[in-house]
Point group: D2
Chain length 424, copies 4
Amino acid sequence: MNTSVLRTASRHLSKAGRPRSLRTVRGYATFNWEDPLAASELYTEEELAIQETARQYCQEQLQPRVLDAYRHENYDRRILEEMGELGLLGATIEGYGCAGVSTVASGLITKEVERVDSGYRSGMSVQSSLAMTAIHEFGTEELKERLLPGLAKGKLAGCFGLTEPNHGSDPGAMETVAREHPTKKGTYLLSGAKTWITNSPIADVLVVWAKLESTGKIHGFAVERDQCPAGTLETPAIKNKTALRASITGMIQLDDCPVPAENMFPEVQGLTGPFTCLNSARLGIAFGAMGALEDCLSRARTYALERKQFKGNPLAKYQLIQKKLADAATDATYGTLAATQVARLKDAGKATPEMISLVKRQNCDRALANSRILQEVFGGNATSDEYHIGRHVANLFVVQTYEGQSDIHALILGRAITGVQAFV
Amino acid sequence: MNTSVLRTASRHLSKAGRPRSLRTVRGYATFNWEDPLAASELYTEEELAIQETARQYCQEQLQPRVLDAYRHENYDRRILEEMGELGLLGATIEGYGCAGVSTVASGLITKEVERVDSGYRSGMSVQSSLAMTAIHEFGTEELKERLLPGLAKGKLAGCFGLTEPNHGSDPGAMETVAREHPTKKGTYLLSGAKTWITNSPIADVLVVWAKLESTGKIHGFAVERDQCPAGTLETPAIKNKTALRASITGMIQLDDCPVPAENMFPEVQGLTGPFTCLNSARLGIAFGAMGALEDCLSRARTYALERKQFKGNPLAKYQLIQKKLADAATDATYGTLAATQVARLKDAGKATPEMISLVKRQNCDRALANSRILQEVFGGNATSDEYHIGRHVANLFVVQTYEGQSDIHALILGRAITGVQAFV
Amino acid sequence: MNTSVLRTASRHLSKAGRPRSLRTVRGYATFNWEDPLAASELYTEEELAIQETARQYCQEQLQPRVLDAYRHENYDRRILEEMGELGLLGATIEGYGCAGVSTVASGLITKEVERVDSGYRSGMSVQSSLAMTAIHEFGTEELKERLLPGLAKGKLAGCFGLTEPNHGSDPGAMETVAREHPTKKGTYLLSGAKTWITNSPIADVLVVWAKLESTGKIHGFAVERDQCPAGTLETPAIKNKTALRASITGMIQLDDCPVPAENMFPEVQGLTGPFTCLNSARLGIAFGAMGALEDCLSRARTYALERKQFKGNPLAKYQLIQKKLADAATDATYGTLAATQVARLKDAGKATPEMISLVKRQNCDRALANSRILQEVFGGNATSDEYHIGRHVANLFVVQTYEGQSDIHALILGRAITGVQAFV
Amino acid sequence: MNTSVLRTASRHLSKAGRPRSLRTVRGYATFNWEDPLAASELYTEEELAIQETARQYCQEQLQPRVLDAYRHENYDRRILEEMGELGLLGATIEGYGCAGVSTVASGLITKEVERVDSGYRSGMSVQSSLAMTAIHEFGTEELKERLLPGLAKGKLAGCFGLTEPNHGSDPGAMETVAREHPTKKGTYLLSGAKTWITNSPIADVLVVWAKLESTGKIHGFAVERDQCPAGTLETPAIKNKTALRASITGMIQLDDCPVPAENMFPEVQGLTGPFTCLNSARLGIAFGAMGALEDCLSRARTYALERKQFKGNPLAKYQLIQKKLADAATDATYGTLAATQVARLKDAGKATPEMISLVKRQNCDRALANSRILQEVFGGNATSDEYHIGRHVANLFVVQTYEGQSDIHALILGRAITGVQAFV
């Protein structure tokens, strides 16, 4: 665990009276609507302290920026550095300047970031779960030592190029190729296009998956922007997005972009590489989506208590409103328990990709469905972006869709349950 | 029916081979996915011609503008004039330069406008169903003759001020007041604030509902902007909306704004006045929402046919995709039939407000639910505004919410069904 | 129209003050929760009179019997005769002792029968839409004259053997065969098994679809039980059904059962024959399911008004209850309008099979979903069969499933919408 | 833990190769569709052994009886004795011949019983969580020692009389009264009626809640049938139930039924008493419903693999089928994790009634919804009771309804979340 987090976390622990989710009043447990099934009981003191650190940062530093960032599609590059300073990037990695915390702690960080905005979480996930995990799991020791510390500190920005314009749910059909340089030994030339790549316009290190021309097998490369000759790498931003506007998204266009062989991941080929990273990211999403949902719930609850309609009653007094709140609280706590279970299993070496498909799918589906229903609580005022709910709703659609659309994960599960595939 | 529509419509009728929804091939009917239950069989030739005129205008003149308008919250004031020219404004009104078409024809116009954008439809609905209907139903003959022709031509822009910051679903609790001028006989002074008022920043004629201070009863006033002394009427725009960004929305702030007694609607008091207008608008929404849904369906179908995933199959080949399309087509055609039925009943003097609550609620609910499901067909590409689906999804949430949130209409229906009210 | 219906209907028409769904009170229309969108306005006086006749019979003669019939799986064979007497069987057929009413009128009859019980409606549908339609559409003139009058009167009971134990959704794979008698010219021998055949145990005339051994093509046969030698035809009842217990269901087991060539339908082959009959039946189901749903709604409404909980309020006073009622009323009226539209199109020669798939699917889906939600209104009392709701819920599951399971119709529609099939 | 369970459990533990839910194959975890998120990892070896014991008994002894019991509403009284023998009754109670296992273990027993049938589980729950818990928590020591051992062994049957014909969701309005005997000191006379009481017709010990006439406060009484004079206690069975037919249900009719003061629970009054018992039962239901759902899933999966439609493909090959299975597996595992969490909290003294409302509601809602969707997999064959799915579907509706209908629990949660009650 890196020192910065540690410091903050200990400071926090020493605060007397820190609210725990399950308060005991005169010997009796009381219900806490923010943690209805007391998931916090499953976390260690350290994990709770890390969550609190992340929460404080997110609420104090990110929340005030998000409205403007979302309106103007204006991602603040300094956020990565701030996160790096706190040790939030690549937090599960041991060494290389990373915090080395549990998968559960990492999930709780993710949840706190997405409580503010799914776009902010996307930026962090791409850095941590995709770019850093790829390099950490598959890169040479030299590559790790060279790139991970900068990525961990947020000095370097990373991205992850898998999806292509014509190949979303079916990455195995990718068209990007890597061929050996005709004359320059030990160099590969990458050509092709990736799209919907979070962070690509600002990335210093671009993990790119391409098919080796000679074998047709997929391999991963860490492309360092500052090593690319002009005209071989372009990363135009995609603007006018309908969601995730607080993150920055773009394409990766490679035109015989030269990459040294040392930057190729030596031992992994096929989709094992990208799927390992995606599994890490997806589990983070399963936590994160619950953070966004909890924020929707909290805002809807506050609105329902403050807004009066019909004889001065708060909206909270009406059955149709209460049912929406109860449903959302239920799905948020169920999803948190399930993500926690998978994170614990992962740390114990017992998690499977299907488990991650399951929690990614369900938590995203339920976060989206409930956020939409909670949006109704706000009536016409939901149209004002200052109530934040519309932003979450728009974001959560994308969160449900990326890194495996809900139906795709249903078919992954269907195959695991029946032994029969139904993709085609 | 005004001459401009007539001209266009007749021109259209003379075109040979105009596609009708139910083609007969060698004596057998064939299924038309764009009109699955052949609703067009319920329309007169004139109604179909009017729809076609509106469709042509919308697809050729509005569709190309909508992306930019939505991105920049930039409503083009000329649209009202263009619509006026075609006779689309206040189309059901007889005389005063209006077209005098059937409620069904008016609904079909609405549907075509909302096929492009719910915001464009909102601008038209407010002008026609709210401002013009209010003046036509409740204004003095002098007022009608003075204001309706300009509104019908789109030379004047109208708006409708009912909702207040603290009173959305419960307009009876409004706080805006009208009091007799202490010295100037025959003049009322209006004070208060209205919000979420479509068109207010550009409106020349503002229909405003206020409580008469002396009686506490609600009355309507046609406020003419050019008659208001400086500082008595402000209509600031509301920006950064999460939806309906192609329409212009604002507040109405009245500070002892003087309005001549002749501009008060003489014979209606209480909520009868605004509810009459809302009923007209809501029926339009019931048609309009089906237009937006049909556009979502059409775009999703096209995308599903063009996008290939897994062994070169189009998405359209997959069961989970087909089910989404089938569900949407079903709800679109059911909703169109139901709205048509109510419109016919209305023209026959047999419609009731509850019927309108029913179709407004159901069509909005189903349009919203299906548009969200169709959005999934686009995967990550839904995040690009150029696919238009995200815009419809965001819009339809507001459409479901305004002019009676879904739950409010449920309670109106519940009361009608049981005889017991459950609002409080 | 046969004389018996005529008599009853006219008697009914002469009754002054018959309640129409859309009453006009002092010039204003009033809302009728039993017909929220005034579908009755779409029916002729004759159609309404027929509906009333059917309703009276069903409420007076069938309703009192259904509880006992359902409990004991005890279908009363006399019901067919009673229906025959009133002209309700094969009602759309002209001549042969049939009433020759419109498809709409026939749908309204169906609706009234299913208002009591889906099983009673199944018995009638099989007789009318399946057995009689098959013989009327495809039989020789001789066959029609010999069998239809008895079937129309309910003296003969009919059934329809298409589904086989291993082939439900895919009837084209049927295994039942017909081969020419090795020695007896002009006779076919039928062998195979059909299952889930309503009325089979009591059927006198069994329409059976089989593949001609020589060609592999499907042909239809009218098997007359009294002509079958012992041991060649068995029709064991299926007992302990979980639903539709007021109808009688069984198998058809054919073991070289001889059928004269004159009983084969001469001009139809393949699935055109059975699908024509199924289309007729499915449209009836689309009406019928709305009858069952309306009965659920009516019973839930009554219960909600009578049952008091919490400070003496009727359940009807609670928002969560009102929403259930409003939703059900909405779906019932939408479904009725849609079925009516297709029936009118059918009489005009403009209906397509896809339209019927659409209304069959949607009306069954919505009837089932709403009946289940309405069941909640009854709380624990729903467990008592005397409230009837549990019976409707159980029945409607089967109604949704038979004659095309919901998903199968979704794929039929998906194919019609996209031009691509997704069955396999 | 009582010796019988111990014996069986140990025998079981010694069996080599007992399948655990998370098998590890060559170092890698593999996905187990029967326990997708490896909930079994949360259980102790003893808990797993107890589950296995219960499972074996249920599958071997109960499953073969259930079809006939359900058909004929014929509960076998010996089941209580069999369960008693195994130590399954009142299993969490320490002493009095009870097993004294954890709440988790008790939940797992419940799950195994409901995997067979919700009615069998109801019978056990009433005995354990309601009757025995009431006596154990609130009875005098003498009462406990006299009654609990017989109830634990199943020699005595217990029931729990709270619900009345006119008061379901609002038990505080009960009408049953207890008054002091006018002459016989130390005796109360109970009068009133209870309904929908599981086990009442066979109960030897009837826990009855009644209002003390003198104070209006609710008190509990253990009524011993063999002490009641003829005519003072009747417990007629309710027949022709639409669900839970494998359990026995009845009324309790009390007519000045004398009960000795020692049989009144001395220290509890108001609804605290019954709600304590209900909380115990509801947590059991949260586990049990997951058992029923898992059985539905397992049967649907098997059917989907065995049933071939369209070109010989198993149903399992179709996307629409796979989605149903994936959804059900997800809800089953989420619900199991949540119930486990609350059970652990309960044993740690940290559970609150709202937590139990939450898991009871959600698990019942999801079990019901998914069982209905899984029923579709069976097509028409679901109508045969031999596929068991129709029975589960019918049962689960009641399970969702009793011990707090879903909406009531939503309002309990809504109140806990907002601090505002919306019951009236």
